[in-house]
C-alpha cells in the first residue's frame, strides 16, 4: 500500500505509474486499433448472419446509386436531346442570298443561339416528297412553293420551355422571317419526364437512405440487446460510456463499408443487366448510348457514404440504448 498512497485516488490504478503524453497517445491509438480489429474479427466470426445485414445495406445503397448512375449517363447525352428544342424559321419566299448571309451572321452573334442549320427550298421539297408519301402527287406542282428553312438550336443555358419561347418570339420579329415555329410540346414532354424521374429518384433515394440508417441502427440496437450482460459487466468494472460505445460504432462502420462494397458490386450487376435493353432502345433513336460500369465518382461516394451511414446509424442506436443499460 506504500506504493499506492502517494497516488491521487480517482485515477485508475493501471494508469497511475504511466502518465507521459507520448505513452498516453500510444495507449489511445493502441486501444482504437484494438477495437477496430476485434470488431472486424467478430464480424468475420459470425459471418453468415452478418452477411445478411450487409446484404440488406448493400441492396438499399445499390438502388439509388444505380438510378444516380443512370441519370448521370442520360444527362451526359445532352447533345442528342438538344434537337428537340429547335426553332424552325420559315424564311420569306425568294429571299436574296445576301440577306440570308446577313441573317446567318447576325444569328450567330446571339448568345441564346447554339447552332444553325440552313435547309434550302430545293432540299425542303425533296425531303417533303420523300417523307410525306406524296411524291407522285407533288409532281403536279409547276413551281416550288416551299420557303427556305433555318433550324435554330438554342444554347444549353436557354433550353427551358420559357427561354425557348422567348427566343422564338424574338426570332419571329426579324424582317427575313415569315414564321418561327417551335415544337414546344415535345420540349415540355421531355421536361415533364425529367421532372418525374427527378422526383422519383429523390423519393426513392430518401426512402432508401432512411432504410439504410434503420437497418444499421436496428442491427446495432439488437447487437446491444444481445450483449446486454456484457455491457452491464463492463460498466460495473468502470468502463466509461465511450469505452462501451466504441466497439458498436466501429461495428456500424464496418457494416457500412462492406454494405458499400456490396452495393458497388450490385450496381454493376444491375447496369450490366440493363445494358442490353437500354442499348436496343438507344439504337432506335440512332444513338450508340450504353450504360457501361460504375464511374469512379459514384464508387467513391458509395465507399464514403456507406461507412458514414453505418457510423451514423450506430451512433443513433447506441445513444439511446447504451444509456438505458445500468448494472443492477
Amino acid at each position: 500500500m506504500a506504493l499506492k498512497q502517494v497516488q491521487p485516488p480517482s485515477r485508475p490504478a493501471a494508469q497511475r505509474s504511466r502518465t507521459g503524453l507520448k505513452q498516453r497517445l500510444r495507449n489511445y491509438f493502441a486501444l482504437h486499433f484494438h477495437v477496430l480489429t476485434t470488431t472486424l474479427a467478430q464480424l468475420g466470426r459470425s459471418l453468415s448472419g452478418n452477411l445478411m445485414t450487409t446484404m440488406v445495406i448493400g441492396i438499399a445503397l445499390a438502388l439509388p446509386a444505380t438510378l444516380h448512375v443512370f441519370l448521370n449517363k442520360v444527362d451526359n447525352l445532352g447533345a442528342s436531346w438538344q434537337e428537340s428544342a429547335q426553332v424552325s424559321l420559315f424564311l420569306k419566299v425568294k429571299l436574296p442570298a445576301q440577306a440570308l448571309g446577313g441573317l446567318t451572321t447576325e444569328l450567330n452573334s446571339w448568345p441564346e443561339i447554339g447552332s444553325l442549320e440552313y435547309i434550302s427550298p430545293e432540299q425542303a421539297l425533296e425531303e417533303f416528297k420523300q417523307t410525306s408519301g406524296l411524291g407522285d402527287a407533288l409532281a403536279f406542282l409547276d413551281q416550288n412553293p416551299l420557303p427556305g428553312v433555318m433550324l435554330v438550336s438554342p444554347a444549353l443555358a436557354f433550353q427551358t420551355p420559357a427561354a425557348v419561347e422567348t427566343l422564338r418570339q424574338r426570332l419571329s420579329q426579324l424582317p427575313e422571317v415569315d414564321l418561327a415555329q417551335l415544337d414546344l410540346e415535345w420540349l415540355q414532354r421531355l421536361h415533364g419526364l425529367i421532372r418525374l424521374a427527378e422526383r422519383a429518384v429523390l423519393l426513392l433515394g430518401g426512402l432508401l437512405a432512411l432504410a439504410v440508417l434503420f437497418v444499421i441502427g436496428n442491427t446495432i440496437r439488437l447487437a446491444i440487446q444481445s450483449r446486454h450482460d456484457e455491457i452491464e459487466v463492463i460498466k460495473l468494472i468502470g468502463g466509461s460510456d465511450a469505452f462501451v460505445r466504441r466497439p458498436f460504432l466501429y461495428n456500424g462502420m464496418w457494416f457500412g463499408l462492406f454494405g458499400g462494397l456490396l452495393a458497388w458490386l450490385l450496381v454493376n450487376v444491375l447496369l450490366v443487366n440493363l445494358d442490353q435493353p437500354v442499348r436496343q432502345l438507344a439504337e432506335l433513336y440512332g444513338s450508340d448510348f450504353s450504360l457501361g460500369l460504375v464511374d469512379t465518382k459514384t464508387t467513391l461516394l458509395l465507399l464514403v457514404l456507406g461507412p458514414l451511414f453505418g457510423l451514423l446509424g450506430a451512433w443513433l442506436a447506441t445513444g439511446r440504448h447504451l444509456r438505458a443499460i445500468e448494472p443492477s
Binding site: 485516488p9 480517482s10 485508475p12 493501471a14 486501444l31 468494472i237 468502470g238
Partner: protein
C-alpha cells in the same frame, strides 16, 4: 473510509430494503456482513460502487459524498473498487484470461507484457493459472466464482467488496479464499464481505455486522460466531 449515515433504501416497488443504517468502515479494515436471505446485504454493498443510491441518508467514501458524484465520474470511481458478485458475471465470449484482463483494458493499460503479468498473478492466487485459455462455460461453478475474484483484484483496487464469494466453494477452498482476502487487507485494501457462512467468518476473528429486515442489529468487532 466508508461511511453510511442513516441510510434507507426504498425500492421502486415500495419495499424498504434498508432502514436507517449507519456504520463506518475504517481505511484498511476488514469486515463481514451477515443476515438472513433478503436482509439487505446486497443492497448495502451495491451502494458503494453506486449501483444503487440511498433514498435517504448519505454514503461517503474518503470523505467524498457519493450523492455528488456526477454520472461522468462514476466509471472512475468504480475502477477503484473491486466487486465480487453473488453470480460471477463473467463474459462468456472471452477466455478466462480476457475476462480477468478486462479491468486493465478499461482503465487504459494495454501494455501486453505488464497486463499479462498482472492477470497471471491474479489467476495464480485463485489457483486457476492453468485455465487461462478456457472459456467460462468450460468451468465449474466454483471455478467461475474464483475467476470473478481474480478479476476483482487484478487492478489492485483500494476497496474490495464481495457478495457471497464462497457460496459455490467447498469448505477448504472457502478458507483459502478468505485468507487471500486477508492478505489483500494486510497490504492496505479495505475489505467488506457479505456471507452466510457463520462458521467460516466466525473463524476469521474480524468485525461482523448483522443485518435483519433492513436494520443493523449487531456490530461485533473481532468476535467469533453470531
Amino acid at each position: 473510509m466508508i461511511q453510511f449515515s442513516n441510510v434507507s433504501k426504498r425500492y421502486s416497488n415500495g419495499f424498504e430494503a434498508l432502514k436507517d443504517v449507519s456504520l463506518h468502515i475504517a481505511k484498511a479494515e476488514m469486515a463481514f456482513l451477515t443476515g438472513h436471505s433478503g436482509a439487505g446485504k446486497s443492497t448495502l454493498l451495491k451502494m458503494i460502487p453506486l449501483i444503487e443510491r440511498p433514498s435517504a441518508g448519505s454514503v461517503t467514501i474518503d470523505e467524498r459524498p457519493l450523492a455528488q458524484v456526477k454520472r461522468r465520474k462514476i466509471p472512475a470511481l468504480r475502477r477503484d473498487i473491486g466487486v465480487i458478485f453473488q453470480d460471477s458475471k463473467l463474459l462468456n465470449d472471452r477466455t478466462v484470461f480476457d475476462n480477468v484482463a478486462l479491468p486493465l483494458l478499461v482503465s487504459g493499460l494495454h501494455h501486453p507484457r505488464e497486463a499479462g503479468r498482472r492477470v497471471r498473478a491474479a489467476l495464480d492466487k485463485v489457483g486457476l493459472l492453468q485455465r487461462e485459455n478456457d472459456f467460462p462455460v468450460y468451468l465449474s461453478g466454483g471455478e467461475r466464482q474464483r475467476v470473478g475474484i481474480a478479476r476483482a483484484v487484478v487492478n489492485r483496487p483500494k476497496v474490495l467488496i464481495a457478495d457471497e464469494p464462497t457460496g459455490n466453494l467447498d469448505p477448504a477452498l472457502s478458507r483459502e479464499i478468505m485468507l487471500l482476502f486477508e492478505q489483500f487487507n494486510q497490504v492496505g485494501v479495505t475489505v467488506l464481505i457479505a456471507s452466510h457462512d457463520l462458521e467460516l467468518i466466525g473463524a476469521m476473528d474480524k468485525r461482523i455486522m448483522v443485518l435483519s429486515k433492513g436494520r443493523l442489529l449487531a456490530d461485533q468487532g473481532g468476535l467469533g460466531g453470531t
